[in-house]
């Protein structure tokens, strides 16, 4: 039976003699016999590494992956971006991979400094001065941002745009179930959130925060000045869900006046990976620093005055504050954060801008081709889009996606699967069934896009 323990039979016997025990079973005498697992676990016997690898390879072959036979035009919060060999090589260094939370800073300067650099790039991407060391994914960053706004407010409600990823909204509503919050959702109309008019707003039911996505789930760029005005009027925090790739050319969340910005950082060096592990990013203004969830790394010095890094403001965290902590996060996604810091350093200032532009150009080129097809139209009208867009065709999108797969494309995300109900008020249920969300990354060539458009024209015929 294969395993990774070093003990020889002789050593086990001698260790037991040292403990004055007869057998290994004696180690477990404190466990009542009635609850012992008699006869062992009903699992298959262990098999050697090569056999397991072969079995996993079979499972892998039962998937159609972006790398092999389905050219990926799906996005919706998970994107098929370039991951260069240099980033994979650095991010898979075993010192980063097999260490843990830097509780002993003297032997964890590598991880601590990498996190410090990650915090700095997130702060710059979002245009806000404070960023934490990572959260699980975009949805958990969203939940934590709403908690931060609630912690500083007497309000028990938050207003959420339907343009926020429907699966993230579902997570928000699940994880706040116990706290009896009033989460009000505001529909999109033609790609833009229909917030109430400022002059019609009383203050009686003021939310702790307004949450808006930029670009939103349907790919549209919303006017954030309006959101800031409503927040000022209501005394609410402005939370912006940012696509950090789009941030390569767009005004930053901080520049638009956001108090807190969150985002999904998968796009920076982390593979699609069937949805995880991804990377929750969160940045905020100085006012929120004491309510920041999870780890925060700060610069300091050692006892000889040498520059050093350490996790700081630890009194916020669960292991010290226990039931009074505003978040329970402990283990987060450090390796993904380090990977993102490496990828962003590889991209550099020019590369990040180029990345956003390349996505936007490919998107524009494909969109122009697709809307020329008879019976195909934009779901969101004339709203500006950047790297993702929603189309309505004449057939159910699930059918469209199945047909497109026959031509070798993962065509997009079927909007009929929206789990959290309505997204755009101007779309009816039957419209939604015929709608598809399409994304183009810097990896897609003109040839691939042309082939996609040709296949789409055929596949979208009723």
């Amino acid at each position: 039976m294969p395993d990774y323990t070093p003990h020889t039979d002789e050593e086990i016997a001698s260790m037991l003699r040292f403990l004055k025990l007869e057998s290994v079973d004696d180690l477990f005498n404190s466990i009542p016999v009635a609850i012992r697992t008699a006869g062992g676990l009903a699992l298959s016997p262990g098999i050697p590494e090569p056999d397991v690898t072969a079995r996993m390879n079979e499972l892998a072959r039962a998937n159609r992956s972006g790398a092999e036979d389905l050219i990926c035009f799906a996005g919706g919060g998970a994107y098929d971006h370039v991951i260069p060999p240099v980033v994979s090589a650095l991010a898979s260094r075993s010192e980063f991979v097999t260490s843990y939370t830097p509780y002993q800073p003297e032997v964890a300067q590598g991880v601590l400094q990498a996190i410090f650099e990650f915090q700095t790039v997130v702060s710059r991407l979002f245009g806000l001065p404070i960023a934490n060391a990572s959260l699980y994914d975009g949805s958990s960053a969203l939940v934590e941002s709403v908690s931060m706004s609630l912690a500083g407010s007497t309000s028990r409600s938050a207003w959420i745009s339907s343009g926020v990823h429907p699966q993230w909204r579902s997570v928000l509503s699940t994880l706040t179930r116990g706290r009896e919050l009033d989460l009000r959702t505001f529909a999109l109309v033609n790609g833009e959130t229909e917030w109430p008019e400022v002059d019609r707003l009383g203050k009686e039911s003021s939310p702790s925060a307004l949450v808006v996505a930029y670009p939103n789930y349907l790919g549209c760029l919303e006017e954030l000045d309006r959101v800031r005005k409503i927040c000022d009027h209501l005394g609410a925090a402005m939370i912006v869900v940012v696509d950090p790739v789009a941030a390569g050319i767009l005004r930053t969340a901080g520049d638009w006046g956001a108090d807190i910005a969150v985002g999904e950082g998968q796009a920076f060096g982390n593979p699609l990976g069937f949805g995880g592990p991804y990377l929750g990013m969160l940045a905020c203004t100085q006012d929120y620093v004491r309510r920041l969830p999870g780890r925060l790394v700060g610069e300091t010095t050692d006892s000889e005055g040498t520059r050093a890094y350490v996790t700081t403001l630890r009194a916020r965290e669960q292991d010290i504050r226990r039931e009074k902590a505003t978040s329970n996060v402990c283990t987060n996604q450090t390796l993904m954060a380090i990977t993102a810091a490496i990828q962003l350093s590889w991209l550099g200032r020019q590369g990040l801008r180029e990345l956003a532009l390349r996505c936007a150009r490919g998107t524009r080129y494909l969109r122009d081709r697709l809307v020329d097809i008879e019976g195909v139209e934009m779901v969101t009208g004339d709203a500006p889009v950047l790297r993702e867009f929603a189309l309505r065709t004449r057939i159910p999108s699930s059918k469209l996606i199945t047909r497109m797969a026959e031509s070798g494309f993962l065509a997009g995300i079927a909007l009929e699967n929206l789990t959290a109900g309505k997204c755009d008020e101007s779309i009816t249920r039957s419209d939604l069934e015929r709608s598809i969300l399409i994304s183009v990354t810097e990896k897609r060539t003109r040839q691939e896009i042309d082939a996609y458009a040709d296949a789409f024209e055929k596949a979208s015929q009723p």
């Binding site: 004696d26 991979v97 790039v121 994880l175 116990g178 990976g273 060539t445």
Partner: protein
């Protein structure tokens, strides 16, 4: 150091004394000396205009930025990212990695964190393109391999824990805790009950009470008794209809098995409450006993601990939650299930595995399906070990912890000195009194010895706690070397000599000024 004493020392066992162990292992003392310099940040290594990115040739027509996006959305300047060559990028992050202790470097006996060796094969499995490069929004018929993998993992975890069904969505242990508590809440609400409190022992991890609050419950703390366990009579006093459940770690954070667990479970169930199992210490009981057989209703697991997925410098983890039959319908969805209607052989119209949202589901707890690549590593580990292999893991983890307990019991206080499970909690209380040597001092001195420190000052109920979890993947030679290092720290102080310096001194930086970091917060390079 000399190995002479190592080979001849008598540990009360003639075989051990006779046998030369060979060189002590597991110390990271051979890593290069790194001098006293800091590594500049990537920002300081940048030069404007330098870059290392390369994009594919795509031949897509050019559009000017303001043709793509209305001008008022465009930034005046792009965010200031680092600007380095590929060579400098590699140099920087390689040097950073040299300033980092890890399991691959040496023994990492960080109690409660199960820092065992992470088999490399698990990393190679998740590097397969058919596993790694699958979009999570792929229609289920086109990713049957992934659904099968997740179903297989769920079934294995249910067998290991003795539960009926599980969700794989929670991304870490704390996320699993909150998920489990929300399941508890949904269970009571479905019966029209609204209890307000959850009982947590004083020895619990900090995430437990934090999660209880986030789930909208109040925490009731129950004290550990003089044996370090929950006293059933004390527990009965706090149990009433207002209690939704109790969160227990078993073995608990003192490394001790709650011997009265069956009576505890009965008392909790009589009160109409549920038992929640914090799986942080599951490694100790794999194949020996199961939470479900102890009477637990909800179990979270830390796959990065028990099933050896790499800890990644503080994540990613994975925190699946398994439940008993009566809680199954509340699980988060969608969850992958075997399709009862599937034809054999399965085809695209009727796939073998499908997504299904449970009838009374509390909803999603993850953007997608959980930390899938972590889940795939854990299944790889489980398949390699099988039932027997997992039992061996637990046996050897417990053997190692007990060997260290006895080996060091003359040097260090063992507040609860009886057979422990996978970890042992020592106390430096008398050393502090006698020599002024605190748990923190010992932790820092141990770094100089080439070992990672134990968890210190936890559990909170032990003064000057040093919590050591050697794990099953360390050899007895490494344990001996660790024990000698821990003895040396005390001996040197006792002699009034060497150890009175302020450790550590062999590490890339000396004792780090934590107070200064908090006093003047510098969370980014721009705040310097």
């Amino acid at each position: 150091m000399s190995t002479e004493g190592f080979n001849t020392v008598d540990r009360g066992d003639t075989d051990l004394a006779k046998k030369a162990y060979g060189m002590p292992g597991g110390r990271a003392a051979s890593i290069p000396s790194l001098g006293r310099e800091f590594e500049p940040t990537i920002f300081e290594l940048s030069s404007p205009g330098r870059s290392s990115h390369q994009f594919p040739t795509t031949n897509i027509p050019e559009f000017a930025p303001d043709e793509l996006v209305p001008a008022h959305h465009l930034a005046k300047a792009s965010p200031q990212m680092p600007e380095v060559s590929e060579r400098d990028l590699v140099g920087h992050f390689t040097r950073l990695s040299h300033r980092q202790f890890s399991v691959d470097l040496g023994a990492y006996p960080l109690g409660s964190c199960t820092m065992k060796y992470n088999p490399k094969v698990c990393d190679s499995v998740v590097a397969m393109p058919g596993i790694r490069d699958v979009h999570p929004g792929t229609p289920s018929a086109m990713c049957q391999g992934w659904l099968e993998l997740l179903v297989e993992l769920e079934e294995a975890l249910c067998e290991i824990t003795g539960m009926a069904a599980a969700t794989l969505q929670p991304a870490a242990g704390a996320a699993g805790e909150l998920t489990g508590l929300l399941l508890m809440r949904a269970f009571h609400e479905a019966k029209g009950a609204r209890p307000k409190r959850v009982v947590v022992p004083d020895s619990a991890h900090g995430t437990n009470p934090a999660s209880v609050s986030l789930a909208g419950y109040e925490v009731t703390t129950v004290k550990s008794d003089e044996r370090g366990c929950i006293n059933v009579a004390d527990l009965r006093e706090v149990l009433d209809s207002d209690v939704a459940g109790i969160m227990l770690t078993n073995p608990n954070t003192l490394g001790l098995f709650e011997e009265d667990i069956v009576a505890i479970a009965d008392a909790v169930h009589e009160a109409g409450a549920l038992l929640y199992y914090d799986g942080a210490n599951l490694n100790a009981i794999l194949g020996v006993t199961r939470p479900g057989d102890m009477g637990f209703d909800i179990v979270h697991m830390n796959l990065h601990k028990t099933f050896a997925t790499p800890h990644g410098g503080g994540g990613p983890g994975a925190g699946p939650v398994a439940v008993s039959e009566r809680l199954k319908s509340f699980l988060p969805g969608p969850r992958p299930v075997r399709n009862p209607g599937s034809e054999s052989p399965p085809d695209w119209q009727s796939p073998q595995f499908v997504w299904e949202t449970p009838q009374n589901s509390i909803g999603r707890v993850h953007s997608w399906h959980g930390n899938a690549l972590v889940l795939a590593r854990a299944l790889t580990y489980i398949w390699i070990h099988g039932g027997d292999g997992l039992l061996k893991v637990a046996q050897r983890a417990v053997l190692n912890a007990n060997w260290l307990r006895v080996r060091l019991s003359e040097t260090y206080d063992v507040p609860f000195n009886r057979t422990c499970m996978h970890e042992v909690v020592f106390s430096a209380a008398s050393l502090k009194k006698r020599l002024g040597l605190t748990a923190l001092d010992i932790a820092k001195h141990l770094l100089d010895e080439g070992f990672h420190s134990p968890t210190v000052y936890f559990p909170l109920i032990v003064n000057e706690a040093l919590m050591i979890e050697p794990t099953e993947t360390e050899s007895v030679q490494t344990l001996e070397a660790l024990a000698e290092a821990l003895e040396r720290i005390v001996d040197a102080t006792d002699d009034g000599g060497d150890a009175s310096y302020r450790a550590p001194r062999n590490t890339p930086v000396k004792r780090v000024d934590e107070a200064k970091a908090a006093r003047r917060l510098v969370p980014t390079f721009d705040a310097r």
